[in-house]
Symmetry: C2
Subunit: 192 residues, 2 copies
């Protein structure tokens, strides 16, 4: 996606060999126009899958999930939670997820009533790296007998195994930009 490529080129920073820092426009400060353009592009790529629910995980997945949901005619968004709250229902689906960014294991959970059995679910996240968050959300869908009709991602780290593993499983995965490598602070993208 051209607008995202340009934002990455202008504002993205590569740190070391594996960190893609895009907090200028995606996951700390949000460029709202770009966010909704990303939402429309992902919506177009998955429209024929006829999703009924957009599933993401807090926190930074929420913004792009909302943008996709808006572009798909106000689909409901469900965001899995990383911490139990005092108001949570006991009837939850849950899965363990190792966070690459935070270097720790989280349990993600969703109230089962928000993923009704048989629902067609589109998983959306801002990043795909080792795929743990995504596999965790797929596990939530398996526990609730929902069908994952696709996975839409803002930025995929192509040098990490998450995307490859999902494609090998036959998941319909589409990423708006795929990082090939990080070299001397530069983020190199695969061709669209």
């Amino acid at each position: 996606m051209q607008a995202l490529r340009e934002a990455i080129a202008m504002y993205g920073q590569g740190l070391g060999t594996d960190i893609v820092k895009v907090d200028m426009f995606l996951n700390h400060r949000i460029d709202t126009a770009l966010l909704f353009a990303m939402g429309e592009e992902l919506a177009a790529r998955f429209r024929e899958e006829k999703p009924q629910i957009i599933l993401t995980v807090e926190a930074s997945g929420i913004a792009i999930a909302v943008a996709v949901a808006r572009a798909m005619g106000n689909l409901p968004v469900v965001f899995a939670k990383k911490s139990a709250t005092v108001v949570q229902s006991p009837d939850v689906a849950q899965a363990k997820v190792y966070s690459f960014t935070h270097k720790r294991e989280n349990v993600i959970r969703v109230d089962k009533k928000y993923l009704p059995a048989g629902s067609r679910v589109l998983i959306i996240d801002d990043f795909l790296a080792d795929g743990q968050a995504c596999q965790g959300m797929m596990a939530l869908c398996a526990q609730t007998d929902c069908q994952v009709v696709g996975v839409g991602i803002g930025i995929e780290k192509g040098f990490m195994p998450g995307g490859k593993n999902l494609r090998a499983m036959g998941v319909k995965l589409s990423s708006l930009a795929i990082v090939k490598s990080i070299e001397d602070g530069h983020i190199l993208l695969e061709d669209d």
Copy 2:
């Protein structure tokens, strides 16, 4: 706001004397059409304040902040973070916040470069209870020499001190619904 009042009446649950459970449409599952209607209503209430940045705090504030930002002509959204990440800049503003929902203290932080000095900031959050998160965001703005031009809230717990304290400070605060009390599981709202 009528649509929000109706959603609270239909789907909200009062727990005990102080918990307003609205995770069916606001902070676990999101009713996307309602979310954007809330965003437009808050945008209308604060348009004359001419904000330049929408500030919120992860996680559940992000959705409504994005909706307000969209309605105000794609203003940038900055969301304060509750945990340090491996990619975070060392030049952060930070403030301590006690979370009523999670019963624990968090430090919220924002990269100072995303709140440039002199910016007109509109603080947006889904809930206002004791006002800790909001006071924390105001502290971030004070540290970065930004001007808080208003605070826009989805649901205010009118029986808790957050709103009263902010109004006493002269903050322009507007909440789309104010809960007067919780009685026998029912959420009673103040008149608009």
